[in-house]
């Protein structure tokens, strides 16, 4: 298969990459760039574990072909914290015990970030809709919803 060249920005770094045109964005991130924070759970766009931001919008990276990111901006979970300083959303996930096995967490965070970037005060219904494409088998979603809703306050109860 003939390779194609793309120019893209991933986590604010610029890349010139020569890739197979059928490579998915998910494989590009995990296998070519070593960004394994983004997870692979189904490869058919159903689980949301692979969610990243493309030009600020949450997308399933398993459904995006790498050539489609030519000239686009990608942000992954690795970019949320600045050094050891966590993003408030990450802090909130920790304090609401919204992280169990954690496999869905990177995708959840990215879907939540997209929501909050466009709607700073979402209702529970809006939050549930925003993460409805992100499957979590561990948590029953409640603490995740709470973490997203109360992302500025950080109650560790009990």
């Amino acid at each position: 298969m003939k390779k194609v060249t793309i120019h893209t920005s991933v986590n604010h770094k610029h890349y010139e990459l020569e890739i197979k045109p059928n490579l998915t964005l998910l494989s590009l991130l995990r296998e070519e760039l070593g960004l394994t924070g983004t997870k692979c759970g189904c490869e058919v766009g159903e689980c949301g574990a692979c969610t990243v931001l493309m030009n600020g919008k949450a997308v399933n990276s398993c459904l995006v072909l790498a050539p489609q990111i030519d000239g686009q901006e990608i942000v992954t979970v690795e970019e949320l914290a600045i050094g050891n300083k966590l993003h408030p959303l990450q802090e909130s996930f920790l304090n609401h015990d919204a992280v169990h096995c954690g496999f869905c967490t990177p995708g959840m965070l990215m879907s939540a970030k997209d929501l909050l970037d466009h709607n700073s005060n979402p209702t529970e219904e809006e939050i549930r809709t925003a993460i409805s494409g992100n499957l979590c088998r561990c948590s029953g979603y409640q603490q995740i919803v709470d973490a997203i809703q109360n992302n500025n306050v950080s109650p560790l109860k009990g």
Binding site: G41, V44, H100, Q142
Partner: protein, 792 residues
């Protein structure tokens, strides 16, 4: 317990019971946590499996020559390349690592490839030629038990029969005023851990092998790998990567992939990575057992139960796996927490050409609880009581004797949890109101279910675990354990226990993932035994270290050991409350004096017993109690059921970490809603119909309501700080609570789950059953639904 006395801490608990942050969560929110598929080493090969083409067939021949010749292929292997044991199994060793002469279900592996890339490995798989001779398929466990059924192993398909007998059911039924007889059915459930199976196998320097992967039961995987490769256990090292969920599912499924990767690695001398796609995972992995349950109860007009006759048949699928243990829990708990003098229970498991079935959260209880709690509501209806009254009448109290003859000497809190669940949901008022509501498009219903559950393995097997606590010279502490963390928070709980005993803050503790070469065989982290076993071992280890530290403290200060305590990162004098040295200084002093700063904690559970012939015994050393209430809205037009509200009450003994206990409750209930309403892994004639999450539907954020978790704490002396367990009980009650709520709303009882649109609306499944014409009559009679007012 002399030592316990010595270290008795007459102080308030500082860390136990608090919602501390999880010790492993930081890596999980930053993307730094390493799951199995995140491990890569240079020169690794990619392994792939060729799986069967038929659910049941003889293998005539396998031709690998075309695949071998493909550029980039390092090796192609079949069963004949296995140097040692070709089969494995926890109870019955009959599961093939690679099928040799026969395939028994569609997920069976036939050949392996290791190649330099995934694409080449996949291409090589497609070049392997296998000639099969298809055999007759049996896909129904009841059919499989008939004499003329195709047989999968040995001479018959029935491979488990557990029995419990108490009193005399003939006498019991004769005393009854009426009899209720029902048939229930449950479905296959896919665990649906979001992380699929993955391992990296690396040949080690001493002719051994190291496997890093998302393995739940590291020690049994190690045994299978060692015996397959003819290696000593000491030569096989299994390292647990961060687990992306398991729910009982990453046991044999991971043994299989670990064995295969290890075989490829040993043959090629190179690291081999294997990762299942979701399709491969669903096709091959084991599921929760479907049961057919026949329940017959004799009862009196006052609601008391005079006899129970119960027969359950579990679909074991192609291999034995955990079926003997899963069905044992069913036989012990099949009568529910209810008084009855005359009981006869028989639970069978049979081989079929379906996916094999094994451990899944609940482990034989979700199936029987669905039947028991539906029966209870039927009984209530019959005698004119409400569901709470009937349970309060029949429910166990402290001192009750179970169907297996065990006297419950601990605090039996069944009625406490029932009362709390009913109060928190305003159960009785709503139940009455819903029944009397005039029909409209959307009907409301409320349903109750409760259970008791034996803690840990019980008489199923050896029950012991190790935790190691190692204090460093700077006062930081490393903890490791044979109990694994799968996302349930075992590491955090063990850390909290260690921190509490050592009087230090949580940030000093670093937890290592389990490595079979560094800790003792602690059995599997199953049966909700993590807290009680790993936690007790952690307490034991930390207490030993604490004694050493206090003795050194006494030498340093000249105070008596009994006057000293460890608190808030300091050595203090209890009387003066004065800090005498920091924990760091104490640790350094301990090192300088040459004292041991590491301790191994070991916990062995109290004795249990079982007489298989009589079906009697002290099955579990203690039990937990739970009650759930579901409120639903049923759309009469479509049959759609929405869960609007949910109350889940569980007596956990003591919550080591409140937030995490709630987390277990939320997650368990969500999974239970899936079990009751949505999920079904369908297999027809040995062929699964769902391949990925687009077809197999698990609850999303839109399907799960806000859940009210109520934690009840009746501390139990058998657990660390009184803690018992919570993981599984939370998952075993939602389905019957929902089905009972649907009955309250519609007057229709569902006898077969999931209660999906068709069953709620039409009373049966909409798919073709394969039976036509005359046989149709039989189907109608066993309709999965009956209507209120029907003659009971």
């Amino acid at each position: 317990m002399e030592k316990d006395e010595q270290v008795k801490m007459n102080k308030e608990l500082k860390i136990i019971g608090k919602s501390e942050r999880r010790v492993d969560a930081w890596g999980k929110v930053t993307g730094k946590a390493k799951y199995a598929d995140d491990y890569n080493v240079s020169h690794q090969l990619i392994g792939k499996v060729l799986r069967s083409k038929y659910p049941h067939a003889k293998i005539i021949c396998i031709n690998i020559s075309k695949a071998e010749k493909l550029t980039g292929v390092e090796t192609v292997l079949t069963a004949k390349d296995i140097p040692g044991a070709k089969v494995f199994g926890v109870v019955v060793k009959n599961q093939a690592i690679l099928a040799e002469d026969r395939v028994r279900y569609l997920g069976d592996g036939v050949a392996l490839v290791a190649a330099v890339s995934k694409e080449i490995a996949e291409q090589a798989i497609s070049l392997i030629e296998v000639e099969y001779e298809p055999l007759p398929v049996v896909s129904d466990p009841e059919e499989a038990m008939k004499p003329d059924a195709p047989v999968l192993h040995d001479d018959k398909n029935e491979f488990v029969h557990h029995h419990v007998q108490k009193g005399d059911i003939t006498k019991g039924f004769a005393e009854a005023d009426f009899i209720i007889e029902r048939k229930f059915k449950t479905q296959f459930i896919e665990h649906s851990y979001i992380e699929p199976e993955a391992v990296l196998a690396e040949p080690s320097e001493q002719d051994g092998i190291k496997i890093t992967g998302c393995v739940q039961n590291l020690f049994s995987t190690r045994r299978s790998v060692a015996s397959m490769l003819n290696l000593d256990l000491a030569q096989v090292q299994i390292v647990q990567s961060t687990l992306g969920g398991s729910f009982g599912g990453k046991d044999e499924a991971m043994t299989l992939i670990s064995c295969r990767a290890a075989l490829l690695a040993m043959k090629t001398g190179r690291p081999v990575k294997m990762v299942d796609t979701r399709e491969e995972s669903m096709l091959e992995s084991y599921k929760r057992h479907p049961y057919v349950l026949y329940y017959k109860w004799g009862a009196k007009k006052d609601g008391s139960i005079t006899a129970m006759e119960i027969k359950c048949i579990a679909d074991g699928g192609a291999y034995a796996s955990m079926s003997p243990f899963v069905t044992w829990r069913s036989v012990v708990q099949a009568t529910g927490p209810y008084y009855c003098e005359n009981v006869k229970t028989d639970v069978y498991a049979a081989y079929t050409n379906n996916n094999y079935t094994g451990a899944m959260r609940g482990f034989g209880s979700p199936q029987v609880n669905f039947a028991i709690e539906s029966m209870m509501d039927d009984l209530a209806e019959k005698v004119g009581m409400n569901p709470l009254e009937i349970r309060m009448k029949n429910g166990f109290e402290t001192g009750a004797v179970t169907a297996t003859g065990q006297e419950l000497t601990h605090n039996v809190s069944l009625k406490e949890v029932l009362t709390k669940a009913a109060a928190a949901s305003d159960f009785e008022k709503k139940w009455k109101r819903n029944r009397e509501a005039k029909s409209d498009e959307k009907k409301h219903g409320i349903g109750l279910a409760c259970s008791y559950r034996g803690v840990s393995l019980g008489a199923e097997g050896t029950d012991a675990a190790e935790t190691i606590v190692s204090v460093q010279t700077d006062g930081s502490v490393i903890v490791s354990s044979g109990i694994t963390d799968m996302g349930q928070g075992a590491q955090t709980q063990m850390s909290q226990i260690t921190a509490e005993v050592l009087g230090i803050s949580m940030d000093r503790i670093h937890f290592l993932n389990t490595n079979t070469s560094r800790v003792a065989d602690s059995g599997a982290t199953v049966a909700s035994r993590g807290t009680i076993m790993g936690g007790s071992a952690a307490k034991n280890a930390a207490e030993k270290v604490r004694i050493t530290l206090l003795e050194v403290g006494a030498e340093m200060t000249g105070d008596a050991v009994s006057d000293l305590d460890l608190l808030d990162n300091y050595l203090i004098n209890i009387k003066t409350k004065k800090p005498l040295a920091s924990f760091n200084e104490l640790a350094t002093a301990c090192f300088n004096k040459g004292k041991p700063m590491v301790s191994h904690g070991w916990h062995h559970s109290p004795k249990t017993s079982w007489d298989e012939r009589q079906g009697q015994g002290e099955a579990y050393f203690t039990f937990v109690y739970g009650a759930n209430v579901a409120e639903v809205e049923v759309d009469i037009e479509t049959g759609k059921v929405d869960v609007l509200d949910f109350v889940s009450v569980h007596d956990v003994g003591k919550a080591i970490n409140k937030g995490m206990v709630e987390a277990q409750i939320f997650g368990g209930v969500a999974m239970g809603i899936g079990y009751g309403l949505l999920e079904e892994f369908e297999i027809e004639e040995g062929i699964p119909k769902q391949a990925n999450f687009d077809e197999y539907l698990i609850p999303t954020s839109m399907d799960v309501p806000r859940i009210k978790a109520i934690i009840v704490e009746n501390e139990d002396p058998t657990g660390p700080f009184g803690a018992k367990s919570v993981g599984e009980p939370t998952n075993e009650l939602a389905a019957p609570a929902i089905v009972n709520a649907i009955y309250n709303a519609t007057g229709k009882r569902i006898y077969e789950i999931p209660a999906n649109l068709e069953r709620v609306l039409l009373g049966h499944k909409l798919t073709r059953t394969g039976k036509r014409g005359l046989e149709q009559k039989e189907i109608e009679e066993t309709d999965s639904c009956k209507t209120r007012g029907n003659k009971l």
